[in-house]
């Protein structure tokens, strides 16, 4: 328990796969799981293996929660923006509207992929050949990231060489280490004669290079480089868990959902909206509406992945303290938008996977990491992290969002709009039955307190993790709940 809870708190650096070994269930022991997101589904998988009877209630029309991959004909149930995905009916044309990447350190989820037979492939996360575009920089013109990074590092290295102070060097480094430091800086910045930076092959040549002699690109002055907000996020985002290459299930993130669901004896009951939760000394009673019928069910335990903000709108007998904790979880905001393009024009620009960054509202354009060289492709045409932008974005209709995405994409790819065929957009903070998503880093104390069960009711999902928005966090939350449940069962036996 301690290890797993510690891992939850320490996300995203839990590099060791967590497993749970439940003792065999006594006959007819039952667990109710509310919400069919990844945390519930994995919990049900483990519980059924141990012999528990499971019942999974899901309010919406689909299982998977935010682990949602959109393909032809899929419904987006966003309040005010109901849409049907109009991509071509082709399994390679998909859009991961929620999580799309599994970092190498998320060993628990990777372990489940292996157990469940979900094939994985590399997802290109950092691609220095992709673009950056910021209105205040380079006259608003796009630039290859590698050109920016080479110049930024070159000038920083030159500056550091110049600024090395003899007294400091004497105090910190011996004679031989001083020389090593100077060599390090030359290598780091690709410095030329006199320890000056005059451009680098790392930027890519402006012409030639392989057959004809290469001509170096002009450098961009340091004071101009500072004007691109690229250094605030895009330049360094892939230096944590999200390293340059991460993993993704072949064919869409929801392959994990279908693989685990296929292994469950009790499939999620869809269109089943929980309206009441009554936590009793020896079990939990739940009322729900299933396609108009009011039903009642009962189990020995309840694992609830219902978003905290909606759980408070359910009739309940939680304590005032527990309710206060639930109310303390903020509603996270994130938006993504998928665009089917009739040609993979970005590949003609030498971009195979990765992300372009812009200071415009769309923030990012993510390129597919599979299907290289094919005809059509689906781009993530916007991935908006800023709460302020999300507040604006969510109030646009889907058509307006697509229009903006096309307009803004034009600055990164001239002719962008001419390739557009069909788009679909998801603002997680307005999705029906969710009305919010990950609230990373906000108030870790509340998240930690919510990991403790209220009697036999456990709140699960990334909402109880310190670092939300990751499948790993969701699954770890479920495993932690299961371990506690297992311990309670031993006491009771």
């Amino acid at each position: 328990m301690t290890g797993m809870l510690a891992a939850l708190g320490a996300m995203p650096h839990s590099a060791t796969a967590q497993t749970v070994t439940l003792r065999p269930a006594r006959p007819q022991r039952k667990v109710l799981l509310l919400g069919a997101g990844i945390s519930s589904l994995m919990a049900a998988f483990e519980l059924e293996q141990a012999g528990y009877v499971c019942e999974i209630l899901e309010a919406s029309h689909r299982a998977g929660g935010r682990c949602m991959t959109l393909r032809s004909g899929d419904i987006v149930d966003e309040i005010g923006n109901r849409q049907v995905c109009r991509f071509d009916d082709d399994p390679t044309l998909y859009f991961n509207a929620g999580p799309s990447r599994i970092p190498h350190e998320h060993a628990t989820v990777l372990g489940y992929c292996q157990r469940l037979g979900v094939p994985l492939e590399t997802s290109v996360n950092l691609n220095p050949a992709a673009w950056l575009q910021f209105d205040a920089f380079n006259g608003g013109q796009r630039m290859r990231q590698k050109q920016y990074i080479a110049d930024a590092r070159g000038f920083m290295a030159e500056l550091t060489q110049k600024g090395l102070d003899d007294a400091w060097l004497d105090a910190e480094l011996g004679e031989s280490d001083r020389d090593l430091l100077r060599q390090f800086l030359r290598s780091y910045g690709d410095l030329g004669a006199g320890d000056r930076y005059r451009g680098s092959t790392r930027s890519g040549y402006s012409s030639g290079g392989l057959v004809a002699p290469g001509v170096l690109r002009d450098t961009t002055a340091l004071k101009d480089l500072l004007k691109a907000d690229f250094w605030r996020m895009g330049m360094h985002f892939a230096e944590s868990s999200l390293q340059s290459a991460v993993l993704q299930p072949v064919g869409g993130m929801d392959r994990i959902v279908s693989a685990v669901t296929a292994r469950l004896r009790s499939k999620p009951r869809l269109h089943s909206v929980v309206v009441g939760i009554d936590v009793q000394p020896d079990g939990v009673e739940v009322q729900y509406r299933e396609r108009g019928e009011l039903r009642r069910t009962r189990a020995d335990y309840c694992l609830s992945a219902i978003p905290a903000q909606l759980l408070l709108g359910v009739d309940n007998n939680f304590s005032a303290d527990y309710r206060r904790l639930l109310a303390g979880r903020p509603r996270g905001k994130l938006s993504r938008l998928g665009l089917q393009m009739r040609e993979r024009f970005w590949e003609a620009e030498g971009i195979y996977g990765g992300i372009s960054w812009t200071g415009q509202d769309i923030t990012q354009i993510m390129y597919p990491s599979g299907g290289f060289g094919g005809r059509k492709g689906v781009l993530v045409g916007a991935y908006i992290l800023s709460g302020e932008i999300n507040d604006r974005w969510v109030n646009l209709t889907s058509d307006e969002r697509i229009e903006r995405a096309l307009q803004q994409g034009e600055k990164l790819h001239p002719g962008y709009r001419s390739y557009f065929e069909s788009g679909v957009s998801v603002a997680w903070h307005r999705m029906n039955h969710m009305l919010g998503c990950t609230a990373t880093g906000s108030d870790p104390g509340t998240a930690a307190a919510l990991r403790a069960p209220f009697g036999r009711h456990y709140l699960i999902g990334d909402q109880v993790a310190n670092y939300g928005g990751w499948l790993e966090a969701s699954v770890l939350s479920a495993l932690a709940a299961l371990q506690d449940l297992d311990a309670k069962e031993v006491e009771a036996a």
Partner: protein, 204 residues
């Protein structure tokens, strides 16, 4: 829990005929009201959805019209409602009205209990600044386009007031909303809104 109530309610909400093929699956999920406004429409402070119990028909129409036109919806929770209102077709309104007429619960009065002095302060401020439009007991007055307030959650009354003060509400609204915003911004700071809310919720 009140199972009978829900059986009726859900029948009302979901007993619809399917439209286009694409719509069919979506419509089954169209229980939007209670996702935000809570079970039995008791209100849910976490998403800012107030109780709908006892909402006046005229006010419901006016509010929905304002949301649809965009004259209301200047702060986060109201923007969510704006999106929902624009999605709600006029043809659904009879069912919404039936739903609302079935609501019989009472709103959670809030945990805090105000003392007699606070209630008295609230009562005086109410009589001085609020009663002329909203009625002596907060029962509302359609002629003044002033809704009943006593039926609302205490946290919502506070939030609505704050939205008027901050300009998120009323700035683009009709005459009544503009008047309310003007009042909210011109009221002396000495007026204790928490006491007014306490008076509305507790005085009998």
């Amino acid at each position: 829990m009140k199972p009978v109530f829900f059986a009726v309610l859900v029948g009302v909400l979901l007993g619809r005929s399917a439209q286009a093929a694409d719509d069919a699956a979506m419509l089954e999920d169209l229980v939007y009201c209670l996702v935000c406004h809570g079970y039995e429409a008791q209100g849910n402070p976490s998403v800012g959805g107030p109780s709908l119990i006892g909402i006046e028909d005229w006010y419901l129409n006016a509010a929905l019209a304002a949301y649809r036109s965009g004259s209301r919806g200047g702060y986060a929770a109201a923007m969510d409602m704006q999106a929902a209102a624009r999605q709600l077709p006029e043809s659904e309104m009879p069912r919404v009205r039936t739903l609302l007429s079935l609501l019989s619960g009472s709103v959670d009065q809030g945990a805090a209990v105000a003392d007699a002095a606070t209630l008295q302060r609230g009562k005086l401020a109410w009589a001085q600044h609020c009663a002329s439009c909203h009625g002596a007991d907060g029962e509302g007055n359609e002629a003044m386009a002033a809704p009943a307030l006593r039926r609302l959650n205490d946290w919502y009354l506070q939030a609505a007031w704050q939205a008027y003060v901050d300009g998120g509400r009323g700035a683009n609204g009709g005459p009544a909303a503009a008047q309310m915003a003007q009042l909210a911004r011109s009221l002396p700071a000495s007026v204790d809104i928490a006491a007014v809310v306490a008076f509305l919720k507790q005085a009998r």
